[in-house]
């Protein structure tokens, strides 16, 4: 059971990474990108392709996967700008529809079968604190955590991060301070896409990808974002670890069905508890 728990924690770090792009875009651009999961899947397919044809490790494939996803996200900007009030709901409907297109495109481009990046070296066991873990999980967790740390540093220490935070907290005030919210929106969207794409190969290494597989990561992203609170990037990792652990335990004690139902049940519960956060962007009902 300890193995399962440790495995869950490892996966949790990846979950936080999966959620990071989504949380960023929601906090800054107030855009609920329901197509985020499909971007992750696209990144996964790119990673799988590179692995299959060039033997490129998922970790090394990350930048290559990040590019098209970032570009796609940025391409959605002109459309999003034309969305009127109520923005949140309309953007939600729009990205819901777009996720369908992306799914279809993935199906046409890559066919509907399930794919997995199975790196043989990653199967090797590593003993850590008396628990045997697949090396791959450790690598994924380490890379995820590293990337999250980098994101956190950017968010808190750089000027870019400050601009992002400013727009996230108060668009008008940011405007008065000389920051262009529209430009920052674009940066956030692109960054969100890049994060989604980059996490794709890692995701494809631990979970099979198929055109319809986007909903899973999307659910996790939404759950963690609501859990962490809008604009609170730091809490994503903690939330991710908790979720990963809870999922592993649910799977260990209840089986695959309960493991898959957990994030969905959590989402409904969180929506009931803190659902207003989506509309107001703050913790006010």
């Amino acid at each position: 059971m300890l193995e399962a728990a440790a495995g869950g924690l490892m996966t949790g770090a990846l979950y936080a990474l999966l959620a990071s792009g989504f949380a960023l875009v929601l906090s800054v651009a107030r855009t609920f990108n329901l197509a985020h999961g499909e971007l992750i899947v696209l990144g996964g397919y790119v990673g799988e392709y590179l692995w299959r044809t060039a033997g490129l490790s998922p970790v090394l494939a990350m930048p290559f996967a990040a590019l098209p996803c970032g570009a796609l996200a940025l391409a959605s900007r002109p459309v999003l700008r034309r969305v009127g009030e109520p923005f949140v709901l309309r953007a939600l409907v729009l990205t819901f529809g777009l996720s369908l297109i992306l799914q279809g495109a993935l199906q046409d481009a890559f066919s509907a079968d399930h794919r997995l990046i199975a790196v043989p070296a990653w199967e090797a066991g590593v003993r850590l604190l008396g628990v045997r873990l697949p090396a791959g999980r450790l690598i994924v967790a380490a890379v995820s955590t590293g990337l999250l740390l980098g994101l956190y540093l950017v968010w808190t220490r750089t000027f870019l991060g400050k601009s992002l935070r400013a727009v996230s907290q108060d668009r008008e005030a940011a405007c008065l301070a000389g920051i262009s919210p529209a430009r920052v929106d674009g940066i956030a969207l692109a960054l969100g896409g890049v994060l989604a794409g980059a996490s794709g190969p890692l995701f494809a290494a631990v979970h099979t990808v198929s055109p319809a597989a986007g909903l899973g990561p999307a659910t996790i992203a939404i759950v963690l974002t609501i859990l962490a609170g809008i604009g609170h990037m730091g809490w994503l990792l903690i939330g991710g670890l908790m979720l990963g652990l809870a999922e592993a335990m649910a799977g260990w004690f209840g089986g695959a069905m309960w493991r898959d139902l957990l994030p969905l049940g959590l989402l409904i519960g969180l929506l009931r508890w803190r659902g207003g956060i989506l509309v107001s962007g703050q913790d006010r009902p």
């Binding site: 949140v88 409907v93 729009l94 297109i101 069905m257 929506l271 509309v279």
Partner: protein, 333 residues
């Protein structure tokens, strides 16, 4: 002194009997108009099925409840009817009835867990509900055969038709079953629009708190809308099961059957009576006749373009836009 309210064009200001009979006549003649050609009747049947689903989606949408999870009701209906005919050897007609009931139950559940949530939260909760049911259907193999799905579901039992007409006759009658369901739902929706219930739905959509302060039991109204909507979506699911003869979690509980009615209804016009039907027919036929020839997945570009157009330019859909323009001309100064 009291001037009568001017009749609103394109709306149910007219008496129901006339248009109702007219609609029924249209439904009845269509196969003949299509020359009874197999392929065309098939298209009409599928269009009717999608129209039924889209129209059912429309009802809660009129109260501002934008469901992202109608596949939940559709799938429950499909599985309920399929299981009843396969395991209990019951008539598919009974299956359809049970499908409506089972789906209505899930509709009640959706109202219970998500009915009080604000707009976007409600949408996401319904998405989670549909996905949850898919996961359950996938893993509860004892009941549903899991990913393999249920096969060999009997078709709708029509009285034995003799001669060479038999299979074709059955397909024509299948069309009538689907089209008649759409017609019934449209009648019900037209009737609702003229009742206080319809006014309440619209009021809730525009300003829920205000409606409640005027005495509307908003929780009850929303719940009723969801239950009725779910029941008809369930019928659509049951029909799907008996027309396609197989169901599996990915197809009936998949996001596809949640997104598509949304797009079709919004494209046609959620605030209008026949908008969803027209939207469904238009998009489906555009796909089958044009886009599908280009590439198997091309329909998604069509649907995607439709949703972008609706959200960005035509929030009220095509019919809604037309209706608004006609109303502006008639508006008293």
């Amino acid at each position: 002194m009291n001037t009568p309210h001017p009749p609103r064009p394109l709306d149910a200001g007219m008496r129901l009997v006339g248009p109702g009979a007219g609609g029924l006549a249209l439904v009845a003649i269509l196969p003949l108009a299509l020359g009874l050609q197999d392929h065309l009747v098939y298209l009409a049947t599928m269009a009717a099925l999608l129209a039924l689903l889209a129209q059912s989606w429309n009802l809660p949408a009129q109260a501002g409840l934008i469901s992202f999870g109608h596949a939940a009701f559709f799938g429950v209906g499909a599985y309920a009817s399929a299981l009843l005919s396969l395991r209990a050897h019951a008539s598919p007609w009974l299956g359809l009835l049970v499908a409506a009931g089972a789906a209505a139950l899930v509709g009640w559940l959706a109202a219970r867990i998500a009915g009080d949530l604000p707009g976007p939260a409600f949408s996401l909760a319904t998405l989670a509900l549909a996905e949850g049911l898919r996961v359950i259907a996938l893993h509860w193999t004892g009941l549903t055969e899991g990913a393999w799905g249920l096969v060999g579901i009997p078709g709708l039992p029509w009285p034995a038709l003799t001669g060479a007409w038999s299979p074709r006759g059955a397909r024509i009658l299948d069309y009538y079953a689907a089209a008649a369901s759409v017609w019934v739902l449209c009648l019900i929706l037209a009737w609702i629009r003229r009742r206080p219930f319809g006014l309440a739905l619209e009021a809730i959509r525009q300003a829920e708190g205000r409606a409640e302060a005027l005495g509307v039991n908003t929780r009850q109204v929303k719940r009723a809308a969801l239950i009725l909507s779910a029941a008809f979506a369930g019928v659509a699911g049951g029909l799907h099961a008996h027309l396609f003869r197989w169901v599996d979690p990915a197809s009936v509980f998949g996001v596809h059957h949640s997104v598509v009615p949304l797009i079709m209804a919004m494209f046609g016009g959620t605030g209008t009576l026949l908008g969803p039907v027209a939207g469904a027919a238009a998009l489906y036929l555009a796909n089958e006749l044009v886009f599908h020839r280009l590439a198997p997945g091309a329909h998604l570009w069509l649907y995607g373009a439709a949703i972008v157009v609706v959200v960005v330019a035509l929030p009220r859909g095509i019919f809604g836009y037309l209706q608004a323009r006609l109303e502006r001309r008639h508006e008293p100064v």
